[in-house]
Amino acid sequence: MKEIHHRVKSVGEVGVWLTAMGLAVGLLMVVSLLALVVWNGAAVFWPRAVAQIELKPGASGLGEARTLAGVVAKTRLRADRARHRPGDEHREWHLFVGNKDVYGFGFKYVDLADAERVSFPADLMMLERTEYGDAIGFPLTLSSAAGESISFAADPERFRQKLQALVREGTVRRLRIRRLERGEIGAVNERMRKVQERRKALDGGRVPPAEVEGRRAALDREQERLQKEYRALAERAADERREQPPWQVAYRLATGQERVLGVGQVIHFHFPNRMSAAERAAHFVRRAWQFVSTEPREANTEGGIFPAIFGTFVMTLLMSVAVMPFGVLAAIYLREYARQGLFVRMVRISVNNLAGVPSIVFGVFGLGFFVYFLGGSLDRMFYSLSLPTPTFGTGGILWASLTLALMTVPVVIVAAEEALAAVPRGMREGSLALGASKWQTIYRVVLPGSSTGILTGLILAMARGAGEVAPLMLVGVVKLAPSLPIDGLFPYLHLDRKFMHLGFHIYDLGFQSPDSDAAQPMVFATTFFLIALVVALNLGAIVIRERLRRKYAAAAF
């Protein structure tokens, strides 16, 4: 009897295992994708050893030199398959050789078969510079204009300490210059623009002709004064620049060339081959922090992504401000006020479906309606002075947020409706029975009861908004925004400004960068941060939902 039971039960085990395979593949896909991004993203900041490769005679190196130094970015099969012979070494290194100012490129492919000897000299130094990316070389001397000189060979420790101190000094000075240029000079520029606009308004004919001359003279005086102020500030900035420490660091590349670099251009230096694990970790943290807190340099291939993070943040926030009240209002109407019938059912289905309408369609609408129609009208009405330069008639953070709000409002409506429906009927009836009005019931009982559910919907909408790129490309995102959407100049929040966005940054770096090799690590790092942001938001929503489920499971009456 038992035998038969077993045989019958086991029919179709192949199918069961196939379905198990489906699940296993699906889970593995997610996990490995996340692992890929995390690994590659984190690897960008981890200081890796710099290899010195001596090439066999006859192999192609960098010009005459047969020794090169660099970080092995990846190892891959040689692209040219025709040269493959079985048993041959047919892999090649993708080597980051740095020193773009000398070589003209930052990366080079080297055949593994061409390498004679690979070593990791402890003295190799990596210099992060304000221009041309990293330099890799052996330090020689540190010399000042006054004739002072510290040789690395004679006293490495003193060399290191002096350079450290000089770099720190330079960093402080750069910050000061930046504050001067961005803050004060920016403010003067803005005032000058205003004056220009007022001058233009004088020609518009709205001012009585008798007053025109007087006003123009006043504006000219103002202009004069501002220009003087501007010149003084520019002078100060130039002075600061000149005062960069008059020290220079000399180093020798693995390929033999000797270079001299002003210490003012060094952002950071380290000796990757002699770092301890703790030092590496510290370096990792420092680089990661720098990445999220500084602005991009060198066509976005160096520096950080702070403006992109900030832009994403402000846009998502504005979007939430727009989407929350409207979504909840529509949900309250649908659930509490509308007469439930065929019509409302149709509306509900349609709203649900709108969540599935491609995001690019919302982008198209945003461009046509918000930017060209609304923005164009606003410009004609209030900003006609600066036309034909559009103010709101071009993509900007306001239009981008509203477009995304429109895109995510169905998500919020659906979530809020579900949350409202989950509030037990007994609670509503209890409130009404105690004499509360309908609105009081909704406001005091139903909304608090469903707030976590609504919050979940909002978080999901934020996650979707933060990760969306396609519609933003049409309504105001740019690869490099000169200024942030929020700053210290009146009116502080600049709704008409274009902005940077993490998702678009990835697209732009990956596909429109002039130096795609140099950009790739940056893309991975940016991807890492975007994924972290989106996954965190989603996990938050999931956790809240689980809590909610438990709460209602206990409180059902």
């Binding site: 077993h6 086991s10 029919v11 489906g22 609408f365 396609a470 994924i531 989106v534």
Partner: protein, 764 residues
């Protein structure tokens, strides 16, 4: 009700009624209205998106609007050509004797009669006006020709725009035998090369002659024009020539004969050769060719018959050498018989024909009549304004009718978007998308079909990969997995759904595509081994005695399978090169030696291209976007099947697989279908993955190793550059509308099915 209970109730005193505060009532009423208005407003606003996009698209399908602006009387004369400036301020009539009559269209109504100032004022016997170049070649009775430039200049004055005109005649150049009168003349200036062609009367016979001129151009400016010499084209022609036309590149002459034949002479250097001789409208012997006119770009000629038939002949390469010859590409509806004046547009491929009591505005590319109306007069001459916003008709009673024309999107229409169109230079009608070109004469190719096909192709490959995987996973999670695992499987899948598509696109393009480019055999190997491993494990489990089977309790199989999967995948992946050596050996196209390279093997084996960014990559990455959606909905559908069904089936002795296949799946089939539909909706609209991971070439094939361009990617690529309210702009809105309709339709279908399913099982 018993009496003692009622006394009980009476003994409890009713609570004193208190009036409700007025403010509470007011607020309640206000909120009631606010929410109603707000709610309806928001929902209406969302649907207004559709209406807005629709309104943007609508003008594409409207015909031309024509309004009569004014009518001006002209002095009578034997006028043969009509010209105008771009502002329609001072049109002119050119008489056969070479006098220009300028009519000011402002309130002054001044009429100016002028003759070009030629040395010793020769008798003019032939004139013509080429509107695009703004020149009027004229031929004289003593066998010479000159090119008169009609130079309009506008000055802005306080009273408005003042248009001045000057006639600048060029030198008189002999053409044909000395002293023979010129009967018709045509001339084209292509910069360095210039060509004039004339019919010349020699002893009562008509001969065809051409004169070639050259002009050196350098950085310092244009040099002197040099007459390179004349050529007698008469030997090439059979029949009685009535007209000779020169094309804009100054390298061809078309000669029309009285018999209705066209001789196409092509010039290389100074030598002319007959390239083609053809008879348009040949299928009707009565209807003889009477009009032969170039369309903008001079790649097509409009042939008009005496009976009113109209056909377009275009140049395209034929045969092995690809010699470009004229062939019929389009046929327009016939006009009533009569003499018709013809005027091509200088902006696009439109042309105006007007004759006895009828005028018609037609569009060459789309083969459509934009506007056609009967008119109460007989038109002698016609001219389409150079901005395509006006046209002039000059009638037999010497009246000039000025019409306003509003036709912003002449190249659009159902046919242009959804039909095959025979574009200039192509050998057959096709579906094509190419919105911008390098020259002004370019025909925008706006077919939505390649984009729709591309969209479907991307969707298809995404679904081929995603649907089986998602449904298998959903089935396992709902039916076989231990319930405890569902708590973490679903969030993991939700995270997968939330991955921003720009990340997937970036990984697809910069990580997966280069990886897969060289490792297609490895992928095949891994896929095959993984499938085999699953089947093998299943078979093993069936065969194993019950005691051993206990290692993996039911519901934990997928955990046990993960290491197997990793092993099998890794093994298959590293088997790839061997597989390639074994199966995909082909000859290297350059060196000729045998190479094992799938990238070379695929085009040689199938004839289709192999690109790095292809549908395989897109399908795989789009899977990440689609799998979680299908999974979630299908899993819900499977879980919602009433447990009683399952229990009954199992109790009757069916195995869990049999239960799943024969009971659960059929019951949940509507839900599964709706899951696939919603996945499809997502794949159709996906933008970033496709934008980044394909080459974005609008091609029409289903080759898995080539790319595509989808509707959504097309919008992302072209909309930022499209000028506001241009045809391209509206066409992209049309693309968006199609996307909207496609996804909305699919989603609604899915949603209705899901509702149906939910209602069905409510009772059980």
């Amino acid at each position: 009700m018993s009496p003692d209970r009622s006394t009980d109730a009476r003994s409890v005193s009713a609570p004193p009624q208190r009036p409700v505060a007025r403010s509470t009532l007011l607020i309640d009423r206000a909120m009631h209205h606010l929410i109603k208005v707000g709610g309806v407003g928001i929902i209406a606003a969302i649907f207004a998106i559709f209406v807005f996009i629709f309104l943007q698209v609508l003008p594409l399908f409207q015909g031309a609007r024509v309004t009569l602006l004014r009518m001006v009387a002209a002095p009578p004369g034997n006028y043969v050509a009509l010209g105008a400036d771009e502002w329609m301020a001072k049109p002119f009539l050119l008489a056969a004797d070479g006098t220009f009559t300028f009519l000011a269209l402002d309130e002054t109504g001044v009429v100016e009669i002028r003759r070009p100032a030629l040395p010793d004022d020769p008798v003019i016997t032939a004139v013509r006006y080429r509107a695009l170049a703004g020149v009027a070649p004229i031929g004289t009775a003593d066998g010479r020709f000159s090119v008169v430039t009609v130079k309009y200049e506008a000055r802005l004055t306080s009273a408005g725009r003042a248009v001045e005109v000057a006639l600048e005649p060029g030198p008189l150049t002999p053409i044909g035998p000395a002293g023979a009168p010129v009967r018709t003349i045509d001339y084209a200036d292509a910069g360095a090369e210039k060509l004039a062609a004339a019919l010349v009367e020699v002893d009562g016979r008509i001969e065809v002659h051409a004169v070639r001129m050259t002009q050196k151009r350098s950085l310092t400016g244009a040099g002197r024009t040099v007459v390179e010499g004349g050529a007698d084209l008469t030997p090439h022609i059979q029949g009685r020539p009535v007209e000779a036309r020169v094309n804009g590149r100054a390298d061809s002459v078309l000669v029309r004969t009285e018999e209705g034949e066209v001789f196409y002479l092509h010039r290389i250097g100074g030598e002319f050769a007959l390239r083609q001789r053809f008879r348009p409208l040949a299928d009707d012997p009565v209807d003889v060719l009477v009009g032969l006119d170039f369309l903008l770009g001079d790649e097509s000629v409009v042939c008009t018959g005496s009976g009113g038939r109209q056909e377009v002949y275009s140049l395209f390469g034929r045969g092995q050498e690809g010699i470009r010859q004229f062939s019929r590409t389009k046929t327009f509806p016939s006009l009533p018989a009569g003499d018709y004046a013809f005027s091509p547009s200088l902006r696009n491929k439109a042309f105006l024909v007007a004759g006895p009591g009828r005028a018609s505005l037609r569009y060459g590319t789309s083969e459509r009549v934009r506007w056609e109306e009967p008119l109460p007069f007989v038109t002698r001459l016609a001219r389409l304004g150079s901005k395509y916003d006006h046209f002039l008709l000059f009638d037999a009673e010497a009246r000039l009718h000025v019409y306003g024309l509003r036709d912003p999107h002449p190249e659009a229409g159902w046919r242009a978007f959804f039909g095959r169109v025979w574009y200039e230079g192509s050998a057959r009608p096709k579906f094509e998308w190419q919105s911008t070109g390098s020259t002004d004469e370019f025909e925008p190719k706006l077919s939505m079909v390649p984009l729709i096909v591309g969209t479907l192709k991307g969707t298809f490959y995404a679904l081929v990969f995603a649907v089986p995987l998602a449904l298998l996973a959903a089935m396992y999670t709902a039916q076989f997995a231990h319930p405890r695992y569902r708590k973490f499987i679903k969030p993991v899948m939700e995270i997968m759904a939330s991955l921003p598509s720009v990340i997937l696109g970036f990984l697809a393009a910069l990580w997966l595509a280069p990886l897969l480019e060289t490792r297609v055999p490895s992928l095949l190997g891994a896929a095959a081994l993984v499938l085999a491993a699953a089947a093998g494990m299943g078979a093993l489990w069936e065969a194993l005695p019950g005691r051993l089977r206990g290692i993996a309790r039911p519901g934990h199989e997928f955990l046990l399978f993960i290491p197997v999967l990793l092993l099998a995948g890794q093994a298959g992946w590293s088997l790839g090169p061997a597989l390639e050596q074994w199966l995909f050996v082909t000859r290297h196209p350059v060196t000729g030696e045998a190479v094992a390279d799938f990238r070379l093997w695929w085009p040689q084996a199938t004839g289709a291209a192999f690109e790095q960014r292809n549908s395989l990559v897109v399908g795989f990455m789009m899977g990440f976007a689609v799998i979680p959606i299908i999974f979630t909905i299908a899993e819900d559908a499977f879980s919602n099947v009433p447990p009683a069904f399952r229990s009954a089936s199992l109790a009757l002795g069916a195995s869990r697989w049999q239960t799943a296949m024969r009971v659960v799946l059929p019951t949940a089939s509507a839900g599964v279908f709706s899951a696939v539909m919603i996945g499809l909706g997502r794949a159709v609209g996906e933008t970033m993955i496709v934008l980044m991971a394909t080459g974005n070439t609008p091609i029409m094939d289903f080759n898995i190793f080539s790319g595509m361009r989808t509707l959504s990617a097309n919008i992302a690529v072209e909309l930022p550059e499209a000028p506001l309210h241009s045809t391209l702009y509206r066409s992209l809105f049309l693309g968006a509308l199609l996307l909207f309709l496609m996804t909305f339709f699919v989603n609604t279908l899915a949603e209705l099915l899901r509702h149906h399913l939910r209602e069905k099982f409510k009772a059980v």
